[in-house]
Symmetry: C2
């Protein structure tokens, strides 16, 4: 993140999220973002050199948000399995409480923006990296099977993302029961078999 967060910037982010969620990247002109933010177009260009840059900065902002959310109140005294369930649960909960961000990030992840922005990422802030470290730990202490780390990470995130999508756009209800059912599937898949 290269911009300092101010109230004004947060409003611009919020409006951009709402509009992109509803209309997509290219269905949301800068003029509309300005209008919805109650700000002049010039003001947006005062903070962001271009629309592309605004979108990339917004992406970084979202990654930080979810990362902070998942790993806040971290209790390392809990069993690994408990923590695994918490991580997965929080991952879903965040996106289901912030569907704008979910929609935006999914669009971003599947657009050429990802390539454009790859260089400017601080890899350490990658939302996946904390999760990856946590899964690594699971293998090290033999709670998880010994699996290629990329397969392991993408499996956990993939299943959770796809669950969230089914809840947001589809016919699935967001209940504890459904959530736990999904997490149990992946837990059974990756846990150390005994």
């Amino acid at each position: 993140m290269n911009v300092q967060l101010t109230e004004k910037i947060e409003i611009i982010f919020k409006s951009t999220l709402e509009l992109i969620c509803e209309k997509g990247f290219h269905g949301t002109p800068m003029s509309q973002i300005a209008k919805q933010s109650d700000v002049a177009i010039g003001t947006i260009y005062h903070y962001f050199p271009s629309k592309d840059n605004l979108i990339i900065e917004l992406f970084c902002y979202c990654k930080q948000k979810i990362n902070n959310y998942i790993f806040s109140d971290w209790d390392s005294t809990l069993s690994y399995k408990s923590r695994f369930f918490i991580v997965m649960r929080k991952f879903c909960a965040f996106y289901l409480e912030n569907t704008d961000m979910f929609s935006f990030m999914e669009q971003f992840h599947n657009s050429p923006y990802l390539e454009i922005s790859r260089n400017s990422w601080e890899k350490n802030l990658n939302e996946e990296n904390n999760i990856m470290a946590f899964l690594y730990e699971g293998m090290r202490i033999a709670e998880l099977r010994n699996i290629n780390i990329y397969i392991l990470t993408s499996s956990c995130i993939g299943i959770a993302t796809s669950f969230a999508k089914k809840v947001i756009y589809g016919p699935l209800e967001f209940t504890d029961e459904n959530l736990n059912e999904m997490i149990e599937i992946i837990w059974n898949g990756v846990k150390q078999q005994n």
Copy 2:
């Protein structure tokens, strides 16, 4: 699908896929699609009433392709587990042999086009529905645990999609070993525990 497939239309589809994969929906103007297809702009409008319609028709075309691919050479004498592995393997193989389609469909799935096109879908051609039926069968014959069908479907597809993404964009190699490792995760997760 509302258009008859002709050689010319397949060329237009192919060019559109390539361009959208590289540049995204709105980075690919009709003029470029025409140029790459070696066809006049007017010709495209002869077959498709609008750019949006072209994209939606292309989406339907892709869904049919993958569906035919997965369920061709279907051998119902094989064990359920074998067929499960084949479906998952073919799902990944198709997208990894057709990365243009993968990129396009992922973009489509996460764009407002999805909503626009929902009404015009024949639900039966939904790529997921054949897979859903196959998973249903697995539960009926007690090869799979009794799980909410939407959770089950989205888990299997989510994990495979996410695997394909890691191979295409990321650091994961597409080897039989990796593929099997991924499928075993989800199989362990959903199979009837004994």
